[in-house]
Structures are given as C-alpha cells and as structure tokens.
C-alpha cells in the first residue's frame, strides 16, 4: 500500500491533525467575526471560513513558518469575502454602497503580518468591549444584537421610549468602535 500513502494529500503536513484541531478551535470564532465586517449573512461568512480552513489544511505541507498561519488565514478569509461581495448581484442599494466602500477600504489596507496579528483576539476583544458597556446600555445592546429584537420591541419590554433605545444603541456602537479601533 506504500504507493497509496506516498502521494496522499494528508501526508507530510506542515502541522499535525491535533495542531489543526487546536488551531480551528482558537481561530474559527475570530475569523468568523472578522468576515462579518464585510458580510451581513452569517451562514455565508461561516462557509467562507470553513472553506478557507479546509484549503489551508490540504495545502499545509507548503507551510514554511508556523507564525504566518494566522495572518495567512485572516488574509485568505478577507479576500474570499471581498470576492463573494463582487459576485453577489441582488442586494439593497445601501448594502451595495457599503460593500463597494468596504472594497475600496480593503484594497488600500495595510496587509502586513502585524496588521493581521492585531486581529488575533478579535472575538474576545469584541466580547470585552460589549461587557464594558454600562449596564442599561449593555442590556439594550444585547437584546438588540443577541436576541435580535427590534428597538421598538426593546422599548416595550423595558418600558422606555424607542428614542432612548435608539440613542443607547448608537452610544453602544460608538463605544465599541472606539474600543476596537483605539488599541
């Protein structure tokens, strides 16, 4: 059976299967959150991340430096996401507007290893930022994003005015933006 395993794509990997599993557990959430910068459809975002990880595993024998795995993966999902946006035809005018803006932004982005390394804790950074929100604001934001309630439903649930909810959501968004961008 030697000639079957000799050319098997699972042979001579740059990383072991155990290492790959560990890597998946660590980086999958970060990559998903990162792709969501560009895509508002979570399933598509997750599919892209999954595909990139499979491709990476199948070609991991080409891997020279293990330190470059994570930057490489972030860069891969970013480009896959941008390609997906280009191919997507049916979308709202505002979505199209933001997509093309993001594309321009991404093309001018610094793609150095360091800039991608900064994304490594994206998921926990985002989580931390949300946890740092003041109690009422955090509550409203979580109801909006985690429970996907419309701001009028939140207002009704908390017995406050929709305007207050609106204000709190925007204050939360600004807070998080400052937290993520400011480091």
């Amino acid at each position: 059976m030697w000639f079957f395993s000799l050319y098997s794509p699972r042979n001579k990997k740059g990383i072991s299967a155990t290492e790959f599993h560990q890597l998946f557990r660590e980086i999958y959430p970060d990559l998903c959150v990162y792709v969501s910068r560009y895509l508002n459809d979570e399933e598509t975002a997750k599919d892209i991340v999954q595909d990139v990880l499979i491709t990476f595993w199948e070609e991991s024998e080409k891997l020279k430096d293990k330190k470059l795995i994570r930057p490489y993966l972030f860069k891969s999902v970013k480009h896959r996401a941008l390609n997906h946006l280009k191919r997507e035809s049916r979308k709202l005018p505002l979505d199209a507007f933001f997509d093309s803006f993001n594309e321009t932004l991404a093309n001018n982005e610094n793609e150095s290893v360091e800039s991608f390394l900064a994304l490594e804790n994206l998921q926990s950074d985002l989580e931390k930022a949300i946890n740092e929100l003041p109690e009422q604001r955090q509550r409203i934001f979580r109801m909006s994003r985690f429970e996907e309630m419309k701001h009028k439903e939140i207002a009704a649930a908390l017995d406050i005015s929709p305007k207050t909810v609106e204000t709190q959501i925007f204050r939360a968004l600004k807070f998080i933006r400052d937290k993520l961008g400011g480091e």
């Binding site: 910068r37 508002n40 998921q123 609106e166 600004k174």
Partner: protein
C-alpha cells in the same frame, strides 16, 4: 460632550443627525422603506466624511450578531463538516501535478488488475478448451449400424459395435472425429479444413474423399481402405511429414498394432494381396501392408448391408457375422477356424447364413438363442 467631540465631521443640525441615526437603525434592523433608503443613500453620498463612521457601525452591528451566533454547538458542527470534507475529497484542491501523482498509481493499479483478470479469463477460455467442450458421441450396438451426417455435411456409416466421437466445435477450426470400430466416411470437400479420423494408434487425414476405417480394439490391425480422393495415414504421435503413408484410390493399408505380434494377426490372404510393406526402421517390425488395385467392395459393402467375402477364414467371417447379427460364434476345434470362404451375403438371416456355411464346408452347427456352435461333422 466627550462623545460629540469624537465626531470630526459636523451634522447640519442635531435634529438632522437624529433623523439619520433613526433611518440608519431602521436600515440595520432591516425595516427601512425604499424611499427612506434612497434618502439615506443620498445623504451618505453627500457626506463622505460620515460614511466611515456609519460603515464602522454597520460592521460592529454585523460582528456582534456573529458573536451571538458563535456557540459551542456551531463550533463542533463546523469541525465535523471540515473533517467530513477533508476525508471525502482529499484531492479536491490538489495542483494538477499532485493530482497526477495521486491518480497515476491508482489508475495503473486498476489497469493492472483489469489486465491480470483478462489474462486469467483468457487462460481459462483458451488454454483448456477441451474441458469446456461437449462431445457428441454415437454408439452402435452389435447387430446394428447407423448413418450419421456431421455438421460439415460429411456422411458417416457407423458399423456395428462402434463408437464415433466429435467435439461440439467440430468444423470451426478443424474437422476431427475419434473412432473405435469401423466406419465409412464420405467426406465433404473443404480444403481449408482437413478431415481427420483419430483411432487408438493411427490418425487418418483425408483431403475430400471417401474411405473406410476399421479399428476394433480387439483386432490386431487397423485397416484403411480408400475409394476416392486421397488420404494420409500416420501413427499417432509421429511426425506427419516423415511418417505419413499416402493412399491412392483402390488401395488399402493395414496397420499392425504396436503390442500385437504380427505373426498372429497376419493373414496369408492379406500378405498375398500386399504389394508393398513398410517396416519400422528401429525394430524391423512389420508396420504397414499396402495393397494396391483391390476390390474395395469387400471392405466397404457392409454399409449397404452386404458382406463380400473373398477367401476369408472362418474365424474372420465369424467376427463379421457376430457384428452383423449380434451373435456369438463358438468353434469346437481350431481347425474349423482355418476354413476358407468366398461369397456374398445380403439379406439373409443368420440361420440362413449358418446353414449355407454348414452345407459348403460340411460342418455341423447348433443355434441356441444368440449362441452358435460350429462343430466338426461326425
């Protein structure tokens, strides 16, 4: 007011900025009217300095939703999907060169297996043809004879107590029959396929002809008589070119079986008729006697129910009668066997024949069912 200071751009009015935020939230929540969307889009295009902020809000909005969707169940489900995909199609994204080296040994193995299998099947089919062939076999009991037409049109008269065998693929490659006993062949002409009669020791090759072969195992000779055409006779296992005895019409060859002493089988009459003798070089044993210009009726008339007897001993005649009438003839004394007869028998009953012999040779006889005793006359 710290928060206001963070906006480098200026909204026209605070009221306007509230209105835009309201519309933007409606957009994010997916409940904006197309009219409002157009308005918001126009506003964003006219306020490019605000776009980066709103884009950032949109990003955080989507990222937060993703965060909510990242459960342990999802993590496990995705990992299982990755494993399944890796194991089911490992070559999906190989380079062409990798793919070649991945597939080449597999394809080669399949071809090798296929070739080996084909050879195996071919071996079974072609190497042992006789095992897969059925034989046609015709037996005639004593006292009977039969006329057979072979697949190629050759007509065979099979004498009593004889056996003719040919394979089911007769006529496909060659034309071969095996004979034990006596048969007369009227061979259909086919120069591309030689007709061959195999007997226990002798092979007779015919080239479009009619001839008679007599090869009863209890007799010491194998006799071939040619009426028309050409036949070649050769001992089984010997080189045809060097050892073949060719016959012309109206010739007869008597072959002496290897293990029977010639002296016992040789008949004075045959010897007298013989015009040529062939001896085995090594042992100087008489192998063939060839008689030329004979009356072939004597040897072939049996097929028409007629027996021609030309100066035959009673022992020889007895054998013929035994076959023709399915009887057993017993001799009281050896002297009786040496009596000579000439004549022809056609539709007589065995009783009539025996009576005629008794009168001609002055001998007594007794018939008891199928047994006939010939006795010296007192």
């Amino acid at each position: 007011m710290i928060f206001a200071a963070r906006f480098p751009y200026s909204y026209n009015t605070n009221k306007m900025s509230k209105r835009i935020e309201q519309l933007f939230l409606a957009y994010l929540e997916g409940r904006i009217s197309s009219q409002d969307e157009k308005f918001l889009l126009e506003w964003l295009k006219n306020n490019p300095e605000a776009v980066k902020d709103y884009n950032e809000f949109r990003r955080i909005w989507n990222m937060s939703k993703m965060l909510a969707r990242l459960t342990n169940e999802d993590l496990e489900k995705r990992w299982q999907e990755i494993i399944r995909e890796i194991e089911s199609s490992p070559i999906r994204r190989m380079s062409p060169v990798q793919r070649f080296f991945y597939w080449a040994p597999r394809v080669a193995a399949v071809f090798l297996f296929g070739a080996a299998f084909s050879f195996f099947v071919a071996y079974l089919v072609f190497n042992k043809p006789t095992q897969n062939l059925a034989f046609q076999e015709i037996n005639t009991p004593a006292g009977a004879k039969s006329k057979i037409t072979l697949p190629d049109g050759t007509v065979v008269w099979l004498n009593a107590s004889s056996n003719l065998k040919y394979s089911s693929d007769f006529g496909k490659k060659g034309r071969e029959v095996e004979l034990e006993g006596e048969a007369f062949f009227d061979v259909e002409t086919d120069s591309s396929k030689i007709f061959m009669v195999r007997t226990s020791e002798l092979n007779i090759k015919a080239y479009g002809t009619s001839f008679n072969v007599k090869s009863y195992p209890e007799e010491g000779t194998i006799e071939t008589t040619l009426l028309e055409g050409k036949v070649g006779v050769v001992r089984d296992g010997l080189n045809v070119k060097e050892n073949e005895v060719l016959l012309e019409p109206n010739q007869r060859v008597v072959y002496f079986r290897k293990n029977k002493p010639v002296e016992e089988t040789i008949d004075a009459q045959i010897e007298k008729q013989a015009t040529e003798t062939i001896k085995t070089q090594k042992t100087n044993k008489l192998t063939y006697l060839i008689s030329k210009g004979i009356d072939t009726r004597e040897f072939t008339s049996w097929k028409d129910g007629t027996l021609f007897i030309t100066s035959e001993s009673l022992s020889e005649l007895a054998i013929k009668l035994e076959r023709k009438y399915d009887v057993k003839i017993h001799f009281e004394t050896e002297a009786l066997k040496k009596l000579k007869f000439t004549g022809s028998l056609e539709n007589e009953t065995v009783e009539q024949v025996i009576e005629a012999i008794g009168i001609a040779a002055h001998i007594d006889y007794e018939i008891e069912d199928r047994d006939i005793w010939l006795k010296e006359k007192n």
